[in-house]
Structure formats: structure tokens, C-alpha cells
């Protein structure tokens, strides 16, 4: 009756979200007086797998088959379901990452499990039911989802549960699942990943800019600020619509919803749709030349002024701060 947690890796290395979900599962396991079994699919060295034990996984199941090297949600859902059955796990935790969003529902449908996606807090239990707070209306509200089904899948929002250390002595086992060739009818042809870029949904600091930047030629200063901060870059919808920045950087109700520790909004007025996507950021800084910009109403700190003048000064000030 262990809690099963599926951990994603990128080219054999675990992302921060992997440690977040293991810690999340460990907290549930403590509440339920059970243990955590982590499932890793792909080519991950034992040394890397052992890192999961530091966050509470006492058993690590690895699946390292050539045909499962690439992420295929249909096949991965089948493997996780098989591991859940072997572990007699009724609660399965994974990350609500881009891949998780395509995986968790397939897994839930396969198991006829209740699915809480976008979970932002630890669940509570009453009898066999589990309740968990999740995002709704693009963070304009939250909902409490009650899972009454026997099997439960929780997809945890990145950045919503800090990894907590909880040393375990790990046991690593290998699982050779029975993957049907029919499950592999999707073929991954290419992966293009900017390895120097910080992933937006997982970033702890996000530097985001809007039309106040006046044109794409001025984005170098945004990138410089982001680099000094170790931040991901983002933009408002009008900016991605105008083609100044790629859609993948668009943050807001119809873009990516983020909840970093620090969100710096530069030259963004703060339309309701944009605010919806960033409102769960822990600290919000707004830089805008319009003192009446609606964004100031939800900001923690604000500076009124021209972004093109303030951003280089801010970059220099942060550099000076870091040098001390």
C-alpha cells in the first residue's frame, strides 16, 4: 500500500519537480503510515536515482528499456499502472508538468482513478476520501477537489511544494513491464531544448515584459536582467501576438500560469487575463511608467518610470548586490 510517485528526468537528470513530488508523496506517506516508492522511466544512473532517497523514497523502481527511452504518454501510463498494481498503490503522485498534463489523465482513465490536477497543497483525508486544493479559473480562484474513487492520482503544480529532506536508505529494483508494441505508435522524432534557458513553469524568479519595451530589439536588457537573477524570461499576450517573443513565453490566463517566488513585470499594464496567470507569485514587482497601471494594485513593490531606463539600472544594482 505504498504511495507511488512518478519522477521525470531530462536526459538522465532529475528536475527540481522530481524532488518536489517525492517530498509531497513522503508527506502523504507519513500521514498514511506507509512508505514512498518512486518510479523512474528511462536511462538514469543509480547514483542519480539514489538522490530520490534524500527526499523520502525508500524504494526506487527503475524501468530502463530501449523502447521506453522517449516519453510516450500512452506507454508510460501503462507502465505506471503496472507499477501501481505491483506496489498495491492507491495513491499515485506526479508533477503537473507539460508531460504530466498529458500523462496523468491517461493514467487516471486506465485505473478509473479520481484525478486532482493542479494540486497546490498537501491533501487531507477523511475516511477513504482525499481532499486537495487546486487551481481553478486560471488562478482567479481555487477549488477543493474531493476524490471519492478508490484509486487517486494527484498531479502537483511545479513550485507549489518545496522539496523537504527526509533521508531513507534506498532499495533499487528493476521492473520490466510488459509493453505492448501497439502502445508505441507515437514516435519521437526530435527534441529541441535550449539547455541554457530556465524552464518557465519551474522558475523561482521570472522576469516578464510587455509592450512598454517598445519593440523586440529592446529585449536584450530583459535577458540580461534575467541572467543576473538566474530567472526565466516571459512576456504578455500582446507581445507574443505581435511576434516579438515566442508563444511559449506568454504568461497569463491563456498562456502559462506561473507561481515563482519573485515575478518582475516590466512595461505590462496588468490586464485581468495577465494577472490571472501570475497572481499566485509570492512577491510581485511592477515597473511601469503609468502610475495608474492596474498591475500596481496587486504588486508588492512598484517603481514608476520608463522601463528602458530602469531595467539597466536594476540589472547593475543586482550585480552590485551579488558582488557584496
Amino acid at each position: 500500500m505504498a504511495i507511488l510517485v512518478y519522477v521525470e528526468n531530462i536526459e538522465g537528470k532529475f528536475k527540481k519537480s522530481a524532488f518536489e513530488v517525492v517530498s509531497y508523496a513522503k508527506a502523504i506517506a507519513q500521514e498514511q503510515s506507509t512508505s514512498v516508492t518512486a518510479l523512474s522511466i528511462g536511462n538514469v544512473a543509480d547514483e542519480e536515482l539514489n538522490k530520490l532517497a534524500a527526499f523520502g523514497a525508500s524504494k526506487i523502481v527503475k524501468v530502463d528499456q530501449e523502447q521506453l527511452k522517449q516519453f510516450i504518454n500512452k506507454a508510460y501510463a501503462a507502465v505506471i499502472a503496472e507499477a501501481a498494481s505491483k506496489e498495491q498503490a492507491h495513491i499515485i503522485v506526479l508533477s503537473n508538468s507539460f508531460s504530466g498534463k498529458g500523462l496523468a489523465p491517461r493514467l487516471a482513465a486506465k485505473l478509473e482513478a479520481g484525478l486532482a490536477d493542479g494540486a497546490m497543497e498537501l491533501p487531507t483525508f477523511s475516511g477513504n476520501d482525499l481532499q486537495v486544493k487546486k487551481t481553478a479559473f486560471s488562478n482567479k480562484a481555487f477549488a477543493t477537489e474531493v476524490i471519492t474513487a478508490d484509486k487517486k492520482v494527484i498531479a502537483v503544480n511545479p513550485n507549489s511544494h518545496e522539496p523537504v529532506r527526509s533521508e531513507e536508505t534506498p532499495v533499487i529494483e528493476t521492473l520490466s513491464p510488459s509493453v505492448d508494441a501497439g502502445d508505441l505508435n507515437l514516435v519521437v522524432k526530435d527534441i529541441v531544448r535550449a539547455t541554457d534557458k530556465i524552464s518557465l513553469p519551474e522558475a523561482e524568479i521570472v522576469v516578464s515584459a510587455g509592450r512598454g519595451m517598445k519593440g523586440p530589439e529592446n529585449w536584450a536588457m530583459i535577458e540580461e536582467l534575467a541572467e543576473v537573477l538566474g530567472a526565466a524570461t516571459a512576456c504578455s499576450k500582446p507581445v507574443s501576438d505581435a511576434g516579438w517573443r515566442p508563444h511559449s513565453e506568454h504568461v497569463g490566463q491563456t498562456g502559462i500560469v506561473v507561481s515563482p517566488n519573485l515575478y518582475i513585470a516590466i512595461g505590462i499594464s496588468g490586464a485581468i487575463q495577465h494577472l490571472a496567470g501570475v497572481s499566485s507569485s509570492k512577491t510581485i514587482v511592477v515597473i511601469n511608467k503609468d502610475p495608474e497601471a492596474p498591475f500596481f494594485k496587486v504588486a508588492d513593490y512598484g517603481i514608476v518610470g520608463d522601463a528602458l531606463e530602469i531595467v539597466p539600472k536594476l540589472t547593475a544594482a543586482i550585480q552590485a548586490h551579488k558582488a557584496n
Binding site: 531530462i10 528536475k15 504518454n73 500512452k74 507539460f98 498534463k101 498529458g102 496523468a104 489523465p105 491517461r106 487516471a108 482513465a109 486506465k110 478509473e112 482513478a113 486532482a116 490536477d117 481532499q131 486544493k133 487551481t135 481553478a136 479559473f137 486560471s138 488562478n139 482567479k140 480562484a141 481555487f142 477549488a143 477537489e145 474531493v146 471519492t148 505508435n185 522524432k189 526530435d190 527534441i191 529541441v192 531544448r193 539547455t195 530556465i198 524552464s199 518557465l200 511559449s248 490566463q253 491563456t254 517566488n261 519573485l262 485581468i272 487575463q273 499566485s280 509570492k282 510581485i284 494594485k297 504588486a299 508588492d300 513593490y301 517603481i303 539600472k313 536594476l314 544594482a317 548586490h321
Partner: protein
Amino acid sequence: MRILVCISHVPDTTSKITFNSDHTEFNQSGVQFIINPYDEIALARAVELTEGTDGSITVINVGDASTEPTIRKALAVGATDAVRIDAAPRDAWFVAKQIAHYASEQSFDLILTGRESIDYNGSQVAALVGELLNIPSVSIVKKFDIQDREITIEREIEGGKEVLSTQLPVVLGTAEGVAEPKIPNMRGIMSARTKSLQVVPAVDVPVLSSISKYESPAPRGQVAMVDEVEQLVNLLHTKAKVL
């Protein structure tokens, strides 16, 4: 090619979200409803794919009669016909079961949904329908092209993109980049009135989960306006502790 486009009837993006007094239900009064923006992208791509061919687009919505203006708008944009599964949509699982049940009795080459709905942010329907129909599904699709029956798909991954290929049929959850939403023209609006909108009873679906209550985000404190960037950096370091 026969395409099924799943559309959701959601509050307009500018809506203020409020609840009834015991916070168990979303307050719909005064709220304008629209086609879910991501579903509009899916529909626009379906129109592009079928234009000038003998292909067809069926739009499907799970909803009561109040969703019919939203369905008519989809017909005005270019769908061939429409199906309304006559039930209040309980959750993504319920909706996906209805869609999968309907689709299993037809032979669609392509099933499109938006990447997520902007009300419950589930991102679930595409993958649920894929699993229920035992066909591939890809979520957060940024681009796709079809050659004969081979489909090449770009999906968003953290910090990049992944290119996949498969054979039709497939279910895709579409995101920005797939197509530009289309605005219905007068001819479309007129012809939508006479297009078929079939109403189908819902099938029974077991309840696996439900929403017990809603809450609004806690109001943020007053903004602290600062004049100098050095002062801001100092506050972020000492007070907010984020630097």
C-alpha cells in the same frame, strides 16, 4: 477527413469570478460565456485543414441548452454540424466519457480539443479521450501537419519542443501557435442558423471526484512604491527575502 472538435462553454476571460454565499457554486449571473479560447484555436485549424476538401468538422459540446449560442458560433466559424450532449458538465472525466462514447460510434480521423479549459484548467480531456478510445493523444500541441494519414506534431516541453509523428486517428490538445482564431463573417452567421445541431442524451458515468468548495485568492497587501532601484534590491533582499 472527418474532424471532431470538442468545445467548452466558459466564462469570458475578463469575467470576475465569484461564488454563491456558501462558496459551493460558481456565480454565473452577469457572466458572458464564450467558446474556450484554446478550443477556438482547434476549430480554426480544423477549418484550415478542411477548406477546399470534402472533409467535415463536427463540433461537440457537453452542456445544457444554455450552451447553444456558443455552439452556433462554432458553426458560424465553419463547423459542418454540431452535437450537444444534453447534460451539465460535471468534470473533465464526465465530459471525456461522453465525447469518447459519441466518437466510438463514429469514425473520426482527428479529434481536437483545446490544451485546457480556462475555467477548471484541467488539460485532461484530450488525454482522457485518447485513453478511452485507445488511440494516441498529445497534449499542449504547438503545431501539426498531416500528409496522407501520417501526422507530424510539435508539442511544448519544458524549455523547448518535441517533434512526434503517428498515424491517424489521434487526439490533440491544441495551444497557441496551431492557428489564429477565426471571427465568423456574415455568411457564416447566416448559414449557422440552418446547420444541424443534434441533441444527444448523456450516458451514465461513475462519480470519481467532485468539487466541494471554492475560494477566492487572499487580497494582496498594499503596494510599496519605491523611487530608486537600490532601495528595491534592498527590500527584495531584506524584507521579501527573494534575493
